[in-house]
C-alpha cells in the first residue's frame, strides 16, 4: 500500500504535477465539525426564542415607538451635561484605582517574574473579577455603599483591575529578558530588576491599555447608572421608565457624542505612546 502510493505520487514518472490525494479521514472530520456548528446554532435559536418575523409583523408598532423619540428634547441640557460629567468622573476614578492595583497584580501574575505558587492564585482571583460584569458589581455595591457614583466607581474598579492585570502581565511576559539579566548581574534586587528592567520596557503598552480601558469605562459608566450607581445612566433609566421619549433621545445623543469625542481623544493619546 505504502509502495503503491509512493509510485503513484512520484512526479518524475508521470511527468506532470499531481494534486495531493484527498485524505478521507480529514474531510470526514471537517464535515462532522460543520454539522456540530449547525446543531449548536439551531439549539441556540430555540433557547433565544428568535422570532425575526416579529420585526415585520410589529413594524407599525415600532414605527410609532420610534417616532416618539423625535424631536429629541434638550430642554434640560445643563442637567444632562452635569450628569455626563459625573459619569466621566466615575470612569476616571474607576480606571485610576484599577491601574494602581493592576500594576502589582499584573506583575505578580507574570510567569517570568513570580513563582507558580504566587502567579497561579493571583491569576485565578483576577479571572474571577473579570468573569463578573461591571453591572453585577454595581448592583452589589449599590447595596453595600448605597446609591450613587461611588458604587459605580467601585464596580468599574474591581472589574477593570482584573482586565488590566491580565493585559499588563501579557506585556510583562513579552519583554526582552536580556537587559533584565544585565541589571541582575549588577547585584540589583528582584524589585529593582522589575523597576529598571521591566517597567521601562512595558510602559508604552501599559499606558495604551489604560487609556483603552478608560474609553470602555466611560461606556460602562453609563450602564452602571441604570442600576442606580450614579451618573447619566440614572437619568436615562428614569426617562425610559417614565416614557419621556424626547428626553431619552436627547440623553442618548449626549452619550454618543461624549463617548465618541473621548474615544477620538484617547486614541490620539495612545498613538503618542506606542
Amino acid at each position: 500500500m505504502a509502495d503503491m502510493t509512493h509510485s503513484r505520487l512520484n512526479p518524475s514518472q508521470t511527468g506532470e504535477a499531481q494534486l495531493p490525494e484527498r485524505d478521507v479521514r480529514k474531510s470526514t472530520v471537517t464535515y462532522l465539525m460543520w454539522g456540530v456548528v449547525a446543531l449548536i446554532l439551531m439549539w441556540a435559536w430555540e433557547g433565544a426564542e428568535m422570532r425575526p418575523m416579529a420585526l415585520i409583523t410589529d413594524a407599525a408598532n415600532m414605527r410609532e415607538y420610534a417616532a416618539g423619540f423625535f424631536p429629541p428634547d434638550f430642554h434640560f441640557w445643563d442637567l444632562f451635561l452635569e450628569e455626563m460629567l459625573v459619569t466621566i468622573q466615575i470612569a476616571i476614578w474607576g480606571t485610576v484605582l484599577a491601574v494602581i492595583l493592576g500594576i502589582p497584580f499584573g506583575i505578580l501574575s507574570s510567569e517570568n517574574v513570580a513563582p507558580l505558587w504566587v502567579y497561579w492564585p493571583i491569576r485565578r482571583l483576577m479571572d474571577a473579577t473579570r468573569a463578573i460584569n461591571e453591572l453585577v458589581f454595581a448592583m452589589l455595591f449599590v447595596v453595600a455603599v448605597g446609591l450613587g457614583p461611588f458604587a459605580g466607581v467601585m464596580a468599574l474598579f474591581i472589574h477593570t483591575t482584573g482586565v488590566l492585570a491580565k493585559l499588563f502581565s501579557e506585556a510583562v511576559e513579552a519583554i526582552d529578558p536580556r537587559p533584565v539579566e544585565g541589571i541582575r548581574a549588577t547585584g540589583a534586587t528582584r524589585i529593582q530588576e522589575v523597576i529598571f528592567g521591566i517597567i521601562p520596557q512595558v510602559m508604552p503598552l501599559w499606558i495604551s491599555y489604560s487609556l483603552y480601558r478608560f474609553e470602555s469605562n466611560v461606556r460602562s459608566a453609563t450602564v452602571v447608572g441604570l442600576v442606580g450607581a450614579g451618573g447619566i445612566g440614572v437619568l436615562l433609566w428614569e426617562y425610559i421608565r417614565g416614557f419621556y421619549y424626547g428626553e431619552t433621545a436627547a440623553v442618548m445623543i449626549v452619550i454618543i457624542v461624549t463617548v465618541s469625542l473621548l474615544d477620538i481623544l484617547s486614541q490620539r493619546l495612545r498613538k503618542m505612546f506606542v
Binding site: 548581574a185 549588577t186 529593582q192
Partner: protein, 304 residues
C-alpha cells in the same frame, strides 16, 4: 587559597540528556589577569561565564564549585544565598542587549550602583549627584560622555558595549566577565571595545575574562588564553602559542571559524554591514576555502 580572583572547580552542566555544555571544567584566574576564553560557537563559553556570574546553577554534583575572591558563588548546583552581594563585585557584559533601550544612557550606567547603595534608595531611583557624577566619569573614560542624555536605543552596538563597560566601572566590579562583547561589531568598534577592556584591566587592576571567537583579538589583547571545545578545556596557556597549526590540531575543521576572522582585522577589509552571527557548530567550513560566511542561523536559545 583565596588568592585567586576566580576559581572554578570540576564544573559540569548538562542541558537535557545528551548536551554537556560544560564537562568537568576547572580553571583559576588570578587577580589582575586579562584572560581570553576562546572556542567555536557551542563550545560552552557563554555557559561558563553565566556560571561564574552566578546567573545559572550547575549540575548537582557535589564537586561542582565556583568561587570568586574566595567566596562561593555556587556549589553542588546551588547558587549561594549571598550571590546577590557577590554579583555586585562581578561585572558582566553580554554579547548584545545589555542596556534597557527605553532608559537614558546615564540611567543605564548609574544603575551600576544598585548593589552598593541602600535598597530603598535604589528602588526609588534616588541616585545622588555624586553617583551620577561617577557615572559621567565612567562614560567619559570609555569616550561616551557626550551621549549621556540619549536613549540607549539610539546608540550603535559598539557604543552600547562601551556603555556596558562604563556600568561595570560604576559598579566598581573587581572582576569583569565579557561574553563575546565584540561578536556583532565591525573591526573599528571592536578595537575600541577591546581597548576599553584592556585599559580598565591595566589601570584599575580589574580582572577581565573575555570570551572571543576571533583568535586574533585574543593574541593581541590577552596574555593568556583558555580554549574550550565541546565543554572541555583543551588549552590553557600563553596566547602566543595559538598559531594556525596549533588551532587546527585543537579544533580540526572548527578551527576555520576561529582563524578566518583574522582576515577581518586586517586593514582594507570591508566588513559587511549586517551584524555577524556565529555560525551553527554543525556547519563545517572545509579547510582552505576562502572565508565565505556560511548561511547563518541563530540558535533557538539565542538569548545569550
Amino acid at each position: 587559597m583565596s588568592e585567586h580572583a576566580i576559581a572554578v572547580d570540576h564544573l559540569s552542566k548538562s542541558f537535557g540528556r545528551n548536551t554537556k555544555a560544560l564537562d568537568d571544567v576547572s580553571i583559576t584566574v588570578d587577580s589582575g589577569e586579562m584572560v581570553a576564553l576562546i572556542g567555536a560557537s557551542g563550545s560552552g563559553k557563554s555557559t561558563l561565564i553565566r556560571h561564574i556570574a552566578g546567573l545559572v546553577a550547575s549540575d548537582r554534583e557535589t564537586c561542582c564549585k565556583v568561587q570568586v575572591f574566595g567566596e562561593t558563588v555556587q556549589s553542588g548546583g546551588r547558587i549561594s544565598g549571598d550571590a546577590r552581594q557577590l554579583r555586585s563585585r562581578i561585572g558582566v557584559i553580554f554579547q548584545q542587549f545589555n542596556l534597557v533601550n527605553r532608559l537614558g544612557l546615564l540611567t543605564n550606567v548609574v544603575i551600576g550602583v544598585l548593589g552598593r547603595i541602600p535598597t530603598w534608595r535604589g528602588t526609588l531611583g534616588l541616585f545622588t549627584k555624586s553617583e551620577k557624577r561617577l557615572a559621567m566619569e565612567a562614560l567619559a573614560r570609555v569616550g561616551m560622555d557626550q551621549y549621556a542624555g540619549q536613549r540607549a536605543s539610539t546608540l550603535s552596538g559598539g557604543q552600547q558595549q562601551r556603555a556596558a563597560i562604563a556600568r561595570a566601572l560604576v559598579q566598581q566590579a573587581e572582576v569583569l566577565l565579557a561574553d563575546e562583547p565584540i561578536a556583532s561589531l565591525d573591526p573599528e568598534s571592536a578595537r575600541r571595545v577591546m581597548d576599553a577592556l584592556a585599559e580598565i584591566n591595566r589601570e584599575d587592576g580589574i580582572t577581565v575574562v573575555v570570551s572571543l571567537h576571533q583568535v586574533a583579538y585574543a593574541k593581541k589583547y590577552c596574555p593568556r588564553t583558555i580554549a574550550l571545545r565541546d565543554g572541555k578545556v583543551v588549552f590553557d596557556g600563553p596566547s602566543e602559542r595559538l598559531n594556525t597549526e596549533f588551532l587546527r590540531e585543537l579544533y580540526g575543521a572548527d578551527s576555520e571559524e576561529l582563524i578566518m576572522d583574522e582576515t577581518m582585522s586586517k586593514p582594507g577589509y570591508q566588513p559587511d554591514s549586517e551584524p555577524k552571527v556565529s555560525p551553527e557548530p554543525t556547519i563545517r567550513i572545509p579547510a582552505h576555502t576562502p572565508a565565505i560566511p556560511a548561511k547563518q542561523t541563530v540558535p533557538a536559545y539565542a538569548a545569550e
